[in-house]
């Protein structure tokens, strides 16, 4: 079953008829994800990609009954789209959009939580349970079904590691990008807990980067609660302090935010820490041999 998305996912695409929404919706449909329709205010009642378009998420809920929503809406309007989805009762919301003002996310995350929903992202590539559902922008072909759960702040760096795992014959249960912004809906710890409780995941890979303390909290969780083996890679060892490295959240503002500090903490917690993304499969295989 893996985590969060599978063959039971019924996906609504917010920003359905825009360029991004159209392209990625088609890709997800081609993969076999059940896409029930989408929203674009003003285009309700029309059809797109052979599916219904709605003006609002509430309308979509009444008819198409989605249980998941993915958002391809520009940054100035994306927080509103997330709130709309939670307000309409969607339990799992994935926001791909990069560039949402950070203050908007404080209220948005609180609101989503108050509705009992889960937000993944923003500024994330989405998630995929290989063979069952792709809910995001990742290239499907590099993934294969298997027992490694992967959680990452990054997009293309994740693909690098997934590629290495697939090539080593180590498929993935679910690969999830939580996003590179400073304030996000789902943390490393949230996902680690899901993987620890998922019978189909036997090993976990964590891909982090500089900025914030999410990886340190992950290390605490790994030490205290995880029995499954964890391999980790942290990007940004060569990043200078105080400079934003692409992702809004990738900025070193204190000694704890550095890649070195995070690698040390994860290692101490029992995770196997890689020096390069290609080392990940080997580190996981070593844990299998020992047990």
């Amino acid at each position: 079953m893996s985590i969060l998305v599978d063959k039971n996912t019924r996906l609504l695409v917010q920003g359905f008829t825009g360029r991004e929404g159209t392209f990625h919706a088609q890709q997800m449909i081609d993969y076999g994800t059940v896409v029930v329709g989408g929203t674009t205010p003003g285009k309700g009642g029309t059809r797109h990609l052979d599916r219904p378009v709605y003006n609002t998420v509430r309308e979509a809920m009444a008819e198409a009954i989605p249980n998941t929503s993915i958002i391809y809406v520009p940054a100035p309007y994306a927080a509103d789209a997330i709130i709309e989805a939670a307000d309409a009762g969607i339990p799992l919301i994935i926001c791909i959009t990069e560039g949402i003002p950070v203050m908007d996310m404080i209220k948005t995350c609180d609101f989503v939580k108050s509705k009992g929903a889960r937000l993944i992202g923003p500024n994330c590539p989405g998630l995929i349970t290989p063979g069952q559902a792709k809910v995001g922008i990742m290239p499907a072909y590099i993934h294969s079904p298997g027992k490694v759960g992967l959680v990452s702040k990054s997009g293309t760096l994740t693909y690098e590691v997934v590629n290495a795992l697939t090539n080593a014959g180590m498929g993935q249960s679910t690969a999830i990008g939580i996003g590179g912004d400073p304030i996000i809906g789902t943390s490393f710890v949230d996902v680690l807990e899901m993987f620890e409780n998922d019978p189909e995941t036997e090993m976990v890979v964590l891909i982090g980067e500089i900025g914030g303390d999410a990886e340190l909290r992950a290390a605490d969780y790994i030490a205290a609660k995880m029995k499954k083996p964890v391999a980790a890679y942290i990007a940004g060892r060569t990043a200078p302090a105080d400079r934003r490295m692409g992702h809004a959240g990738a900025i070193i503002s204190s000694g704890d935010d550095t890649a070195a500090a995070k690698m040390a903490a994860l290692s101490k917690a029992g995770a196997k820490v890689a020096e390069a993304p290609s080392e990940i499969p080997g580190l996981l295989q070593a844990t299998m041999v020992r047990s």
């Binding site: 949402i100 003002p101 950070v102 293309t156 990007a235 934003r244 290609s278």
Partner: protein, 378 residues
């Protein structure tokens, strides 16, 4: 985005915060004029985005306009941590009876706006945070409620603000918080907030850092950007919609995706090389983007090799290959390139590159090692 002290003070003044009378000057004569019109002792302060101005000699007291001339002459044009001082703030000096710290910051871990205050302000605040953390008051703001009056009380009593100044303090804290929220800041701090010799509150220094993601809705604040403080190449990159940070090495990097770009720099370093830059060229394979990115990387004369590391998600590798070839032809350089290209249609993409005379790698580690080797040999 950082803004200067004088700009931060302009913003905070609009929110009722007691900033000193003062003005910014770009020449010595201007500084003298301002000092004369203030008519009291002034402080001449370098306006640069880096910290440690005082220790570098960029903050000086001047008792009269003649002294202001001397101090401004010394400070204008000086270099502080690599930045040349082009402006000074000339502000009325204050006799300080007590220094406090007051700040509003975003705390990512708790997803909350945090108020931070201390009765022990000034340059030693970071020391205080380590040695006497109980002297730092932290109050978390609930987004539903905003800044509540009882929280202002909490802060005032925690910071031991004298009773007769509590009303002024309340106004200052509320102003600082409102400024933070309304400008979409990630940090707004007054350090030090002082009680001057007349017993009044005064904000002697102010710092505001703005959320880059929110600048689109603050064109007036975006206009405060100081291009003098930024590398010209970084300015160009931002205008082209590219993410670029100049570093000190000689291996230029062009990568799609911030995480992979950082990972690429790290791998270059791991194999003994020094990255010249971070550059996230983003998705899409248009020759135009590649050309712009190449020009930016090559504007750094120390670059001896360029390492392309592209893992196309949706972007097709053959499109990327064509984009790279066209881009390189546009720019015409003899700097050697190492290209690693993965993604949809990767075989086709690598074939196109080989036919054009490039070596196309599929393995990131091998490609990184080659780039390091090439740079070392030049």
């Amino acid at each position: 985005m950082k803004i200067h002290e004088y700009q931060a003070k302009e913003v905070l003044a609009r929110y009722g915060i007691p900033v000193q009378q003062g003005q910014v000057a770009s020449t010595v004569d201007e500084a003298v004029q301002i000092a004369t019109s203030i008519g009291k002792p002034v402080v001449v302060k370098a306006q640069v985005h880096v910290g440690g101005r005082g220790k570098a000699g960029g903050v000086k007291l001047a008792q009269n306009p003649e002294e202001a001339r001397q101090k401004a002459s010394a400070i204008l044009g000086m270099s502080i941590k690599g930045i040349t001082v082009k402006k000074v703030l000339v502000a009325a000096a204050a006799d300080i009876a007590h220094e406090y710290y007051l700040g509003v910051v975003l705390d990512r871990a708790s997803k909350r706006v945090l108020l931070i205050g201390s009765a022990e302000g000034g340059v030693e605040i970071e020391e205080t945070a380590k040695t006497n953390p109980e002297k730092i008051i932290r109050i978390s703001i609930d987004p539903l409620i905003g800044l509540a009056s009882f929280q202002i009380n909490q802060m005032a009593f925690g910071m031991e603000i004298p009773t007769n100044l509590q009303r002024d303090f309340s106004k200052t804290l509320r102003g600082l918080y409102n400024a933070f929220i309304e400008t979409d800041a990630s940090l707004a701090e007054i350090n030090p907030l002082v009680i001057d010799s007349e017993g009044k509150l005064a904000a002697l220094d102010a710092k505001i850092v703005l959320d880059d993601n929110a600048l689109f809705r603050h064109p007036d604040l975006e206009a405060m950007r100081d291009l003098n403080e930024e590398e010209p190449s970084e300015v160009l990159a931002r205008e082209a919609g590219l993410s670029y940070v100049k570093l000190d090495g000689n291996i230029g990097c062009m990568v799609n995706g911030a995480g992979l770009a950082m990972g690429t720099m790290d791998s270059v370093k791991l194999y003994g090389g020094e990255p010249a830059n971070f550059l996230d060229v983003g998705g899409g394979a248009k020759a135009e983007r590649v050309t712009t990115a190449l020009r930016i990387i090559l504007s750094d004369p120390s670059v001896k090799t360029i390492f392309f590391n592209i893992f196309g998600g949706i972007t097709r590798a053959d499109d990327v290959a064509r984009g790279i070839i066209a881009g390189v032809q546009e720019v015409k350089t003899d700097v050697p390139m190492v290209i690693r290209l993965n993604g949809t249609n990767q075989e086709e993409g690598r074939r196109i590159l080989s036919e054009a005379g490039y070596t196309a790698y599929s393995d990131m580690d091998l490609a990184a090692k080659k780039a390091v080797e090439l740079a070392a040999s030049r």
